[in-house]
Symmetry: C2
Subunit: 162 residues, 2 copies
């Protein structure tokens, strides 16, 4: 990752805001032992430079999916090759429409990766079987149920639809 000329203070501020974006200037100033005016100026600059892009919330257990699975779909090559793009569009649009599907992206020419969430592994696999594996124009579907997150475990609460 480029560091985009961030110094230690910028990083320290970003780390604090990542943990709790409600911290006030006074609290940050106090924790980092820097004047409030400095902290205020730095945050303003970080926002102007687009380094802080957005303030948001992560939702918790009661509404975030408990189980995740990664799904890799391979699109069937159409007889008329020009239709491939249309097939991809169709499948990504179908997937994006489900609130259970948290993330959808193209990979290469003919693959799509998706992150899917559900209440339990059972209901998640059923959702994938009923709503994803049944999509026409698919050649192959690989499902990787996620059993334990070691890094980035807030992903479900961040991506969950509200």
């Amino acid at each position: 990752m480029t560091n985009a000329s961030l110094d230690d203070l910028d990083r320290a501020i970003l780390k604090l805001l990542k943990k709790d974006a409600r911290l006030t200037i006074a609290e940050i100033s106090n924790q980092l032992k820097k004047p409030e005016s400095t902290v205020h100026f730095r945050i303003k600059k970080l926002q102007e430079r687009g380094i802080i892009e957005k303030y948001t919330i992560i939702v918790g257990e009661p509404i975030k999916p408990r189980k995740l699975a990664l799904v890799v779909l391979e699109i069937d090559m159409p007889i008329i090759e020009d239709f491939l793009e249309r097939y991809i569009e169709y499948v990504t649009k179908t997937l994006s429409g489900f609130s259970e599907v948290l993330f959808v992206a193209k990979s290469g020419k003919e693959k799509i990766v998706a992150l899917v969430g559900g209440e339990s592994e059972e209901s998640l696999l059923k959702f994938i079987e009923d709503n994803i594996e049944s999509i026409p124009t698919l050649r192959n579907v690989m499902v990787f149920p996620i059993s334990e997150i070691k890094k980035g475990d807030e992903i479900a609460g961040f991506l969950a639809e509200v």
Copy 2:
């Protein structure tokens, strides 16, 4: 996803805070045409119930990775089967240590999925080759470079290390 007895107002508040967690009670009250006291009470309840788990920031272009790839690693089955868990631990720990690796999770007994970020597709693939494919005890590594995100495109700015 369970709805955990959220009504339309709760959802409307969550949607607004997801878009901009800095909105004041007065601004939310104004946008939703509800009394400030009601909005205040609802947000307090959402926090107490853990439905709003955390307030955080998303970082932007200057520091977030420009290119992502999904990597699925299959661990070699050790001669002594009891060692599998140790192999998995070793690989997930190694992966988690890289700032380029944004997400790491176990999948099933012998697979690991990871989301990796980089400056360009070239540097990303080189990182994967040098630092992931070279890890011992791997039987197979599948790499899915992400070319276009259709849903959940803030994932890189959310997961990026600061």
